[in-house]
Amino acid sequence: MENTVIKIENLVKRYGDLIALDHFSLAIREGEIFGLLGPNGSGKTTTINCMLSLLAFDKGNIEIFGQKMTPVSYDIKKQIGIIMQDVAVFNELTVYENIDYFCGLYITDKAERKRCVMEAVEFTGLGEFLKFYPKKLSGGLLRRLNIACGIAHKPRLIILDEPTIAVDPQSRNKILEGIQKLNRMGATIVYTSHYMEEVEQICTRIAIMDKGKKIAEGTKDELKRMIKNTETITVEVLGLSEAVRNEIIQLPHVYRTEYDGERLTVFCSGGTHNLIRVLDVFRTHEIRVGRVYSELPTLNDVFLEITGKELRDRKGDSHVLS
């Protein structure tokens, strides 16, 4: 049986006139890597700050480990590891001292603390930077320090708020692998990001939010099944006539096309061999085409279809044919 670790019910948070969270509800179960995906300003950080009782909210109910969360719930806080969106370390303390400081807020026994700190150091690969000051660390290393400070005490629940901002792909992959490892070691993870690839890559369940509302929730396959689109075909072609475009939209499974003068986008729902049928049309009309892509739906398409706008710049599993 999976226990609910975090339960948020009908959370409402206003900043003056702005409604940052609008009746937001969420249930996160033990052992999950839960992804909270949303564009900038959608309320991810606000949700987390409310969860941690840093922010006072207007309405709603938050329970962690089955207990109501309050600012003085020190027993609960002891079991949470938090990695904030803004790096929160002492600039005047070294890497080791920083990790030791934060770990010491949770673990009082010195020997045990030392062991935990060293494990965190090893985990984040900061071993050779122990005597470095945060200012001397690169962005990626700094993020790793931020993570080390959050996980050294081996929390049961780890909350990461966009831990990979400004991190190069290599470091990012290391961080993501690390998060999965922590999860395998038993921690429940809450992960927020606006990088859908990351969320797709590691999260077992995902909630997509926009403007303070949860617009969809489920595993990534469940989410993708929610939408009509199953395949998006892009063809680079110049001076396409209306007639040919009409012919393409008549093809089975095609429900929409877009053309900007250089690139034709064909949206398909279901069916197989859609790409071949589209290319057949071009061949019969002897139209020269440039590059051709076929993409499976991404979380961006899910977001796009539900909200009518892009989550972020499009990217996905692309197959280049030419």
């Binding site: 941690l52 840093l54 922010l55 003085v72 929160a88 807020l105 009082t108």
Partner: protein, 376 residues
């Protein structure tokens, strides 16, 4: 948890260049600057030998005689009197071998040729002598054994009274600048105090937010950081006073331990002021640091750090300001320590410092104790 937090607060602050600068280097540099600027006067004052003075006896005055006699027995000679007739005396005054002529009659009269430090001291001597004449007469006639002590007191007063009036004849002297320097250093402790707020308030820094998510209670954390800030400030004050006294050789009086005490208490006042300023409003770190600096300098301005006779002006026009201006209270405490032989006023100033510290600490705690914020 308390000691863990305390340890790292102190460690992190010790490594903060900004604080080291304002709390250690800046006061030391300013001290050196003052020392150089006032160096000449200072040298004159401390190295004044006995002042040569002609004594023209118009009428026999046994009291004055015995005062002169007793003063000769003192370790530190204040006057170097020579008995002369008036004509010779005037001549010597002209060619500067004496600084002044004391006419001895029922009363003392003084003639000097020019204005200067020695002349001022002579004037003070005559004034003080006249003021104390009854006591001196009494001692000379009925308790000759007390004569030495009375003369010593007179001589000492003349020294200190004269040094008080060196510059422009008002109550400011250059030592006041150093008292104010101590006050300024003490109040720069506010930067430390402010750091406590930055480190603990979730709405002021990521660090504060992070700390608020951890299981250390705010009360423990505030207590630890306050303790750390005060201890650090004690250290800074000790360095400052030690530097003034033992390196720059500024005379802060002979009750040095009490000067350290006053400086440390002043430092505590500074920390608490910073803690309070840091806890109010919603402004960011930079704005707060700016406000804090401005407040400190304003306090010091009214206490006379920049313009020497400011405190006298304040005393004349808004006397209550000197009682509550922390900079004035701190510098006055040391001033009182060296001006009065009893401890009443010194004690009052210390009490005022404690009161101000307590007030601001309590206000600061009331402001920072909240744990949830409407926006971060």
């Amino acid at each position: 948890m308390f000691f863990h937090d305390l340890k790292y607060f102190i460690l992190s602050q010790l490594k903060t260049k900004n604080l080291i600068f304002w709390l250690l280097l800046f006061p030391i540099a300013l001290g050196c600057f003052f020392r150089i600027a006032f160096g000449e006067i200072y040298g004159n004052l401390t190295q004044t030998g006995p002042i040569p003075v002609a004594v023209v006896e118009e009428k026999d005055n046994p009291v004055f005689r015995s005062v002169l006699e007793s003063m000769k027995g003192l370790e530190e000679q204040f006057l170097d009197p020579v008995d002369l007739d008036e004509a010779t005396a005037l001549e010597r005054l002209k060619n500067n071998t004496v600084e002044g002529i004391l006419y001895v009659n029922d009363k003392l009269r003084l003639t000097v040729a020019e204005d200067g430090l020695e002349e001022t001291m002579l004037k003070k001597f005559v004034e003080t002598y006249t003021l104390r004449e009854t006591i001196l007469t009494d001692a000379a006639l009925t308790h000759p054994e007390k004569m030495e002590a009375a003369a010593a007191a007179l001589s000492k007063d003349c020294h200190s009274v004269a040094s008080v009036s060196v510059t422009t004849g008002n109550t400011n002297n250059f030592t006041q600048y150093f008292y104010n320097l101590i006050a300024m250093t003490a109040l720069y402790g506010s930067l430390l105090g402010m750091q406590i707020c930055f480190n603990n308030q979730a709405n002021l820094s990521a660090l504060g937010a992070r700390k608020s998510c951890s299981p250390i209670s705010k009360a423990v954390s505030l207590a630890a950081d306050l303790t750390g800030a005060v201890l650090l400030q004690f250290l800074c004050m000790a360095v400052c006073v030690t530097f003034l006294v033992f390196v720059l050789k500024i005379d802060l009086g002979n009750r040095l331990p009490l000067v350290y005490l006053a400086a440390c208490l002043g430092g505590m006042t500074g920390v608490s002021i910073g803690f309070f300023v840091g806890s109010i409003g919603t402004a960011g770190q930079r704005v707060r640091t700016g406000i804090c600096n401005a407040v400190v300098l304003l306090f010091c301005f009214f206490s006379g750090l920049m313009v020497g006779n400011m405190k006298a002006l304040v005393a004349r026009f808004v006397p209550w300001l000197n009682e509550i201006n922390p900079a004035a209270v701190i510098s006055d405490s040391i001033y009182c320590l060296n001006l009065y032989s009893d401890y009443r006023r010194f004690g009052e100033k210390l009490a005022a410092m404690l009161l101000i510290s307590l007030l601001f600490c309590i206000l600061g705690i009331i402001m920072t104790r909240r744990k949830q914020y409407a926006d971060i």
